[in-house]
Symmetry: C2
Subunit: 237 residues, 2 copies
DNA sequence: CCAATAGTGTCTATCAGACATTATCTA
DNA sequence: TAGATAATGTCTGATAGACACTATTGG
């Protein structure tokens, strides 16, 4: 039998395959807190519980897994996040009551303001402070996935400024530093933090400043390429 | 409807789901070369082409995705690799002629000797030098997956000694250094390389030596925990 | 002895940590 | 002026790069 004939006769429904979903851990930074976007499940299983935005691949319309995630996130936030990276896939027989299931999990970052208005129109989606999420009983294994995402983002805070994607386009250095401190879980030396970012020329001075009860802080914007930059030397763990 | 009833009536065959496979990029180091294990495909599609070891999840017997990979690798090599880590999932409508397909790709490392005898009994599996693999026309998108795995391993060579899992249990420092040099693609300072490994106490001196036409090299063994160790400062890229 | 390979000594450059000091705003 | 927050000056310590040097084998 040649390949053409094989494909003509191939019917995937003859083979048992796992369920395939995508899930996104979308972080943001607001009011000095890390927050994650959660969605109240409208359907079984785990109906009524909160969980990560995500869902099944639409074989008709999605060309890639990433398109599926982007579509799902846009439904909930109104926009596509400026940072989206695959985190890990989790697949086993236990994680979904419907049967053997694989989820491809993504980590995403966006500014709180960028979608605040849209989210307020979607009753079932909400930003929740990460500290509180830890106490909740989430759907499926979403708690574990959030922990994975957080740990990965903590690592990135040590050797990149990727967390900046969780801030508005224009931000101050003290803001970025505090976000890194929250992720890493300890205070950083401001001199060290500024120095490495200055030397690598990762930010653009907008010329504007923002006052916050003391000396005004310079407002910066990320360079296009700065997300890809990694420092050769990490901050202390 | 409650959840129990929902699950009783749930039939996943009513929903279209992508095909799910796993693939492993298994590297080793032999004769001063990086090699990758490839398998000649016995079935359509791409029958006769070489590709990565892997295949479909067995919903009956595999409890997790990682079990699937371990099973597949054991079939080809006779053993389970000492290093196995998820690389990335690739899912889109184009990569498999049978339709929308997701593969969960893993990177694995093992010693060449550990499975040389078994592989010689499996006619369709073979170690191929990575340089030559680049010229081949592999099945599916396996060429791209190999490139991803190689790039990831290159990064790890800059901040860890994970590549050591591609060596026999007992090895010399010059061997490990050369492996890192092949991965990184440039010569390293032996002083720097030795110093950081010594200071981090990652290896155990076996007390034995191996002669290679000059001064004999000390034979080392990895500590249990050394795979998890990351240097705070990377080697130069 | 020489050639070959393994391993060391030591200087320099870079950069993060620590922390004191200065700058610039508001009340 | 005082208090708050932002930004800088400057010293120290850790560690990678460079490269010359010594050590240990076989022929």
């Amino acid at each position: 039998m040649d390949e053409k004939q094989f494909l003509a006769e191939y019917n995937k429904h003859h083979y048992d395959s796992p369920l395939v979903t995508v899930d996104a851990v979308l972080f943001t930074y607001h009011e000095e807190c890390l927050k994650v976007l959660l969605v109240e499940r409208a359907n079984h299983p785990d109906r009524g519980k909160w969980g990560l935005p995500g869902g099944f691949v639409d074989l008709e319309h999605d060309k890639t897994l990433e398109e599926t995630v982007r579509r799902k996130l846009k439904e909930k936030t109104g926009i596509e996040p400026p940072y989206l990276e695959q985190l890990q896939s989790i697949g086993n027989a236990e994680r979904d009551k419907r049967g053997w299931s694989v989820t491809v999990a993504y980590t995403a970052l966006m500014a709180y303001q960028a979608c605040a208005s849209h989210i307020s129109t979607v009753a079932d989606a909400q930003w929740l402070a990460l500290d509180k999420v830890g106490q909740m009983d989430l759907a499926f294994d979403h708690q574990a996935i959030i922990n994975l995402a957080r740990e990965r983002m903590r690592q990135k805070a040590l050797y990149s400024i990727i967390p900046a994607y969780a801030l508005p386009e224009i931000f101050t250095l003290p803001e970025l530093q505090h976000l890194h401190e929250v992720l890493i879980g300890k205070a950083l030396q401001k001199k060290s933090f500024r120095r490495r970012i200055e030397q690598a020329e990762l930010l653009i001075d907008t010329g504007k400043k923002r006052s916050e009860g003391g000396r005004p802080a310079v407002l910066y914007r990320m360079k296009q390429s700065s997300g890809a930059y990694t420092f050769v030397r990490n901050l202390e763990d």
